[in-house]
Amino acid sequence: EAGVTQSPTHLIKTRGQQATLRCSPISGHTSVYWYQQALGLGLQFLLWYDEGEERNRGNFPPRFSGRQFPNYSSELNVNALELEDSALYLCASSLGLNFYNEQFFGPGTRLTVL
């Protein structure tokens, strides 16, 4: 069974540009989560999508946004990139709403903002 996949592996952007990160969940999972791991700040929750809806959001500015597609894959968009957005972005999936279940993580996208 395939795990959570993310693309691209690495992404290099300049300040002010937009970045788009992609995630495909484990087959059968409807919930997708996004987390940021920035140097010195630890792992922080960004967004949770289930059945195409944003269900919860972490303490991040509105320029961090995303969506979930009918096939449950998800995109994370970061607009007006700032240097401090450089981080490892991890996507996770689980069985979804009303299931208090394990989250499984993908390999991550490492975003570098120059």
Binding site: F45, R55, L90, G108
Partner: protein, 110 residues
């Protein structure tokens, strides 16, 4: 918000030694997971353990929810066990977001 504290922050051991990593949390939780972050950054699931005890090979974990702590035991450590171990919890009320501790960096020397 909920606080998750892991100890010790760093642990250096010789191959073959046993270790205990601790995770304290400040509120009732519905979900608790232990992860090992590999050198490339991926989080590898070790245990989903909101309560009770589980074992998987040389690793075992115990969560005492009423006392708000969890322990990860690693026996007969190998160099491949090196890396950062994270504990993460989800609030009982179900925000379905994991709150991570700061991690324990484990170094196993040959």
């Amino acid at each position: 918000g909920i606080q998750v504290e892991q100890s010790p922050p760093d642990l250096i051991l010789q191959e073959g030694a046993n270790s205990t990593l601790r995770c304290n949390f400040s509120d009732s939780v519905n979900n608790l997971q232990w992860f090992h972050q590999n050198p490339w950054g991926q989080l590898i699931n070790l245990f989903y353990i909101p309560s009770g005890t589980k074992q998987n090979g040389r690793l075992s974990a115990t969560t005492v929810a009423t006392e708000r702590y969890s322990l990860l035991y690693i026996s007969s450590s190998q160099t491949t066990d090196s890396g950062v171990y994270f504990c993460a919890v989800d609030l009982l009320e179900g925000a379905q977001k994991l709150v991570f501790g700061q991690g324990t960096r484990l170094t196993i020397n040959p």
